[in-house]
Amino acid sequence: MDEFEKRLKRDADAILAEASPELRARIHASLQSTSQVRPAGKKAETAPANLWWASSLTGLAAAIMVIVLINWNRADSVPVPAETIADVTVPADPDPLLTAPMLDIRTADFTSPLEDELVKLQSDIEKARESVKKDLDFTF
C-alpha cells in the first residue's frame, strides 16, 4: 500500500459516521416488520426421483397415440386406388401381327460406281504408259 492509498484510507476514516441510536432503532423496527422473500416453487419444478417411470410411461403413451392418430388420419384422407392385374399375358387379337407389311430388304450398293471408275482410270494409265513406251522407241 503506497502513500496515496494510505491517505485515501485515512481520510475515509476521518469521516465521522457514527450511527445514532435513532437510526439503529429505525432499522431494527423496519426489520421486525419485514419478511424475507423466498424463491418459490423450486422444489415443485423437479419431479421426485422415484417417479421417473411415471414420466417415461406418459411419454411413451403419448408417442404411441401420436403415431396411431397420424396413421389413422392418413388412411382416411388419402384413398389408394385398387390395383388392377391383367388375366392374360398375350394379345387377344393376333390379326395385327399377321397383317403386318412384309419388308423387301436389300443391301445398299454404294461402292460399284467408284469401282467402275477405278477400272477406267487403270485402263487409261495403261494406255498412256504404252503410248510413252512407243514414243521412247521412236526417239532412240
Binding site: 475515509a12 469521516i15 459516521a17 450511527a19 437510526l23 439503529r24 423496519s30 426489520l31 422473500v37 423466498r38
Partner: protein, 185 residues
Amino acid sequence: MFTDEQLVEASLDGSAGAFDEIVGRYQERLLRFLLTRSSSRADAEDAVQDTFINAYRYLASYDSRWRFSTWIYRIAIRNAARQRRPEWHDSDVELVDDSDPLKECMAHSERENVWLAAKRLLSNDSYDAMWLRYVEDLSVKEISSALEKSASWTKVTLLRGRRKLSTELAGTTTAAEQRQSYGRI
C-alpha cells in the same frame, strides 16, 4: 467469529440475531459511504435503512460465490442513485458548500480531505469504484459486480480516478508548500 456468509446462512435458517450482527457490522461503513453520496445526512440515513430492508427481504437471492460486502454495496449504490437529487439542480437556489454532509462529517483538519476532492472531480461511478477499492478493499472483479460494469471498465476508471486525484493532491501540496515558504520569507 462468524463470517458474513455464515451469518447470512444462519439468518436464512431463521436465526433472528444473525442479521442484527450483520447490521452492526455494516451500518457505520454504509453510512460513511452514503454520507459521501447523498445530499443530506437524513437522505444518507434513509438510504442505509432501505439498504438493510432490501438486503433482509431478498437475502435468499444472495449468491455466496461473491463476498457479502459486494452484494450489500450494490444495493446501497442503487438506493443512493434512486434518491432525489438536491433541489438546487431544479431551481436557481445555489447550494451552499457548508450544507454538504460530507464536509459536515469531516474531522477537522488543516488540509482538504481527499474524498471531498474526489467528490468534486470524479463522476459518481468513478467515485464509487475508488471507494470500494481503497476503503473497502474489494477486488476489481468484485467492484465490477457491485457496479454492474465490466472488469476492463473498472480497471480504466480506477486508473483514471487515481491519476486525477494524484494530480490534484500534488497541486494542493505544492500550493501549501509555497504558502509555507512565503510565510518563512
